[in-house]
């Protein structure tokens, strides 16, 4: 059962993410895919995450497919202009990559090539709109026609907690209007705050047009917690979460982080309009079975 089918059937979808290696080999992707294969519907393949050069997202997506795991190819606006982005969608679709997740992308300033030219020729709304036009209207941005048109399931991202808070549901509305069919969110540590955002999303009727998958991560260490709170753009760690994870001995932070993640998944699954969960676990794939088991979420890949 594909991710699209799982969501359409009303089942609780689970996605995770794999960050491709810095090197010309797919061994690490195969290892991570083996860990995740029986537990998730699909896996995001990040696009030079954090503006650090890694193996290309399309290549990582093909490797995941070969390893028996459905990919969600991430596509940022940071490094490619409208010509390259459209070309990449055609190539990915031709080779069987169906899920495409569109995002603005981190600024190059935060990565390993801060001297790079930031492209941002299109923004994420414009890229979604472009890909939708390619698929549904069989046209490029230039107006020239396509044959055959690409087949793709379009995803977007949103951060429910970043200012301006009053505009965040509307912003998702723009992405849905432009073509987003599913959305994965930034880290959710506070299910109640997420619930308030979801109420706005439901008021706009967005959950009827777009599957919503909140992002949940498992904190592995105090260092990771501090990094997430202070260094990752757009992530907000509430004080009670911070105290809870610092309240256990340092060698038990990972176990407590996994418990917290499982609890958060259960709370989110109970919110009206939540279609699944996106596990933000790049580099910590081995934690996935434990978290999902504890949360009581089991994805049977044979489509039970």
């Amino acid at each position: 059962m594909s991710l699209r089918e799982r969501l359409a059937s009303g089942g609780f979808a689970v996605t995770a993410e794999i960050s491709p290696p810095r090197g010309a080999g797919i061994g690490p992707i195969n290892q991570k895919a083996a860990l995740l294969r029986d537990w998730v519907d699909a896996v995001n393949i990040t696009d030079n995450q954090g503006s650090n050069v890694r193996l290309a997202s399309w290549a990582g997506s093909l490797a995941a497919m070969a390893a028996g795991l459905e990919p969600v190819m991430q596509m940022t606006c940071r490094d490619r202009n409208r010509i390259a982005l459209q070309s990449d969608l055609l190539g990915a679709s031709a080779l069987g990559i169906r899920n495409v997740l569109v995002m603005t992308g981190d600024h190059p300033k935060f990565g390993d090539h801060p001297a790079a030219k930031p492209v941002f020729d299109l923004d994420s709304v414009q890229l979604l709109w472009t890909l939708r036009a390619m698929r549904d209207d069989h046209v490029l941005l230039s107006g020239r026609t396509l044959d055959p048109a690409p087949d793709c399931f379009l995803g977007a991202v949103e951060n429910p907690f970043a200012p301006p808070a009053e505009f965040r549901a509307e912003r998702l509305g723009k992405k849905v209007a432009a073509g987003a069919q599913f959305v994965q969110t930034q880290f959710v540590f506070d299910a109640q705050a997420f619930g308030r955002w979801m109420a706005q999303v439901r008021d706009l009727g967005l959950h009827e047009h777009c599957y919503i998958l909140p992002g949940v991560g498992a904190v592995r260490s105090r260092r990771a917690l501090d990094f997430m709170r202070d260094k990752v753009p757009g992530v907000q760690v509430p004080d009670d979460v911070y105290r809870r994870l610092y309240g256990v001995p340092a060698d038990q932070t990972a176990a407590e982080g996994a418990r917290l993640a499982a609890e958060t998944i259960q709370q989110l699954a109970a919110i009206d309009g939540v279609a699944g969960v996106h596990l933000l676990v790049a580099g910590n794939e081995q934690a996935v079975p434990g978290i999902l088991d504890r949360a009581g979420v089991r994805v049977d890949r044979d489509g039970r």
Partner: protein
């Protein structure tokens, strides 16, 4: 052409006054006639464009993209966003509303939302902005605006909920062949 890098700029014109000026300067026959006369003369056009550049640079940190979004962004320039986002803020805005790239400066979209909402224009931020035409950097957006060439810059989302899809194509069909200037 080379331009200054995008850096968030705080507008020096109050939102209320900006919207008043917008009403006074909206396209109408007199301004259409005047702008056509200005365009007809190369030197006049250059002087006019230079004056616009200076004025808008001082007031809004304008970088002369030539496709002005200010009327629907609370008169905060989105081209000051380090990612040049035309459709709203990225997900990296700090909890205090700061820009992720320049943490000492406010995010242009946070300011845009506050200013537009304060004047009852919050719905402007729901418009879908088409990709800009990079050939138009350096042009006078005032002349483009009065001549009606900016009409395709954004679109309204269609459907009952307003979220079922854009009412028009993403492809912008400008009224004239671009280039030259």
């Amino acid at each position: 052409m080379t331009t200054r890098p995008p850096i968030p700029a705080h507008p020096r014109l109050g939102a209320r006054l900006a919207y008043r000026l917008q009403r006074a300067l909206r396209p109408r026959p007199g301004l259409r006639w005047l702008s056509a006369r200005i365009e007809a003369s190369g030197p006049t056009r250059a002087v006019f464009t230079g004056a616009e550049r200076q004025t808008k640079q001082d007031l809004f940190g304008c970088r002369m993209c030539g496709q002005c979004a200010l009327p629907v962004t609370g008169y905060v320039c989105p081209m000051g966003c380090p990612k040049e986002l035309r459709n709203g803020p990225c997900g990296g805005v700090g909890a205090d509303g700061s820009c992720e790239v320049y943490p000492e400066l406010p995010c242009v979209w946070v300011e845009a939302y506050q200013r537009a909402a304060s004047q009852g224009r919050g719905a402007d931020l729901r418009l879908l902005h088409r990709p800009i035409d990079h050939r138009r950097w350096g042009e006078s957006s005032w002349l483009n605006y009065w001549q009606g060439r900016d009409e395709g810059l954004w679109a309204v989302a269609a459907g009952d909920t307003g979220h079922e899809g854009p009412s028009t194509s993403i492809i912008n069909h400008p009224r004239r062949v671009l280039g030259g200037s």
